[in-house]
């Protein structure tokens, strides 16, 4: 007697229910739209907003590898956003040596003198900001923002960023920028996200001076 396969309708029903809940949730989700300007009213690019409350666990499919290339003696993407647990590699696309390092509390490491695709990567296992430099070319500087959550974004040239898919409710977030004072970075910003559309949050940042080592050469002239 041939056997019959019986399929229970329960998983199908559960699946449909889940889809409905998901779509419903998205239908009730809003977005946080932050616009950042400095005291002079100019847009602030390369600032990061991370939602720190409520905390949601990282989804299983979050990418845990990233890279920060070096081309023409510069970090190509000098502000990289990753989540805790990401392995970051530093491929050297120049045909000269680079020597990437960081003294940061979030990660201290050193990748001395390599050319080409270095297979070594660095595991960023603590949240925070990792400032990376090159010991050969002092002007090279990059920042890796290591977030505890995936709910983060960086501002574009217009000073705007968007964190989508936020269920309606109250949120607290932090703003980080390389030239922002530590007291301003630790400050929590509160916002109530509406159930649809973008909730606007304008902020004015008091940035410090742009202190970086210049790349342009000094005069070749010796004693004259």
């Amino acid at each position: 007697m041939p056997s019959r396969t019986h399929t229970s309708p329960l998983p199908v029903v559960l699946c449909l229910l889940a889809m409905q809940l998901f779509c419903g949730a998205l239908a009730n989700a809003g977005a946080l739209e932050v616009t950042l300007v400095d005291k002079a009213g100019k847009p602030v690019a390369d600032a990061v907003v991370e939602i720190v409350s409520p905390v949601v666990p990282l989804p299983a499919n979050v990418p845990l590898t990233a890279s920060m290339d070096q081309i023409d003696k510069e970090f190509v993407n000098p502000l990289l956003l990753v989540v805790v647990g990401t392995r970051v590699s530093f491929p050297n696309k120049d045909n000269i040596h680079h020597h990437v390092y960081s003294f940061s509390e979030a990660k201290t490491f050193e990748l001395p003198l390599w050319t080409g695709n270095n297979t070594k990567s660095v595991l960023l296992d603590k949240p925070g900001v990792v400032v990376v430099g090159c010991n050969v070319h002092d002007w090279m500087q990059g920042h890796i923002y290591v977030a505890a959550t995936q709910r983060m974004a960086k501002s574009d040239a217009r000073g705007k960023l968007l964190i989508p898919n936020l269920p309606a409710g109250g949120y607290a977030f932090r703003i980080w920028h390389a030239r922002l004072k530590a007291s301003d970075i630790s400050k929590l910003h509160n916002v109530v996200i509406e159930d649809r559309g973008n909730t606007a949050y304008p902020a004015t940042l008091e940035l410090g001076r742009d202190r970086r080592i210049r790349r342009a050469p000094s005069g070749l002239a010796r004693d004259y």
């Binding site: 001395p112 050319t115 002092d138 742009d210 202190r211 342009a216 050469p217 070749l220 004259y224």
Partner: protein, 291 residues
């Protein structure tokens, strides 16, 4: 000498090419005014002149290990004066330098040792000769804007020595055989836009050449004398032992990532024996480009 130089280049160039490293090239164009070109001690003999200087440098920079670099290269220089054409010259040089950085990052101090040898060929052949330098320098950035440094240098200049030009055979041909020791220090501030302001001082003990018409006080302190047709008709050049103190201020502005423009002034006061002294004021404008 020329054969030895060619042999060095022949063997060194492939070795450097094979070593992992980078070529660095730079070009500097300078317009400079010297208000006392002959280094004269009295108003009757001194005059100023404007000069244009073009220098190209090519170096192979090899990282020997983390924080240690070897630089080997060459330079080509040409200088032309507006009026004093006899001092126009071409120079070709070779340099080797070792830099050690103690620690990681921009604030780590670094020590560099540089040796260089230059051949100078003047329009007026009197000053033709060799110039060798050894320089030990230390640079330390104490914060992103502030940097300090110092150096000690030894310089040897050897003239070709043309007996036909000697005024008084008793003095020999050694006017352009000069040795100098120099100590220097600087403080530099870098503004947030990249402009640099540097003040520096140097103390130099050794010999120099000072030109004047015959009959002045220089003869009393001269170690050697030669007729100086490069500076002007009727001039003679004296080798004099002097101690020089120079203080300079320079502003350097980045024009692009690889180009900068500098403006600098320096005042030099030199003292010889028996109260003989002279002063020079230098002004320069320089454009530097790195390829």
């Amino acid at each position: 000498m020329r054969k030895q130089a060619l042999l060095i280049v022949f063997f060194l160039a492939p070795a450097l090419q094979a070593a992992p490293g980078a070529w660095e090239a730079g070009l500097a164009a300078t317009v400079a005014y010297d208000d006392n070109l002959p280094r004269a001690v009295d108003a009757a003999n001194d005059f100023g002149d404007l000069a244009t200087d073009l220098e190209a440098q090519l170096e192979r920079v090899t990282a020997l290990q983390p924080g240690r670099w070897l630089r080997v290269g060459g330079s080509l220089q040409g200088k032309a004066h507006r009026d004093t054409r006899g001092l126009d010259h071409l120079g070709i040089g070779a340099q080797i330098g070792l830099t050690q950085k103690f620690g990681l990052g921009a604030l780590a101090p670094r020590v560099s040792l540089q040796l260089e040898s230059n051949r100078l060929q003047f329009r007026n052949v009197l000053r033709d000769g060799w110039l060798h330098r050894a320089r030990l320098g230390i640079d330390r950035r104490t914060s992103l804007p502030w940097q300090f440094g110092g150096h000690v240098a030894r310089e040897w200049r050897r003239g070709d020595g043309r007996r036909a030009d000697v005024v008084n055979p008793a003095f020999g041909t050694a006017v352009f055989d000069q040795n100098n020791v120099e100590l220097g220090a600087y403080a530099q501030y870098e503004f947030s836009g990249g402009a640099r302001l540097r003040t520096s001082c140097r103390y130099r003990d050794g010999q120099t050449d000072s030109s004047a018409r015959p009959g002045g006080v220089l003869r009393n302190v001269a170690q050697a004398i030669t007729r100086d047709s490069a500076i002007g008709q009727g001039y003679v050049v004296y080798r004099v032992a002097v101690r020089t103190l120079g203080c300079a201020a320079d502003v350097d502005l980045p024009l692009t990532d690889d180009t900068s423009m500098g403006l600098g002034v320096e005042r030099l006061e030199s003292n010889a024996r028996a109260g003989v002294r002279y002063e020079r004021n230098l002004l320069r404008l320089q454009i530097t480009h790195r390829f």
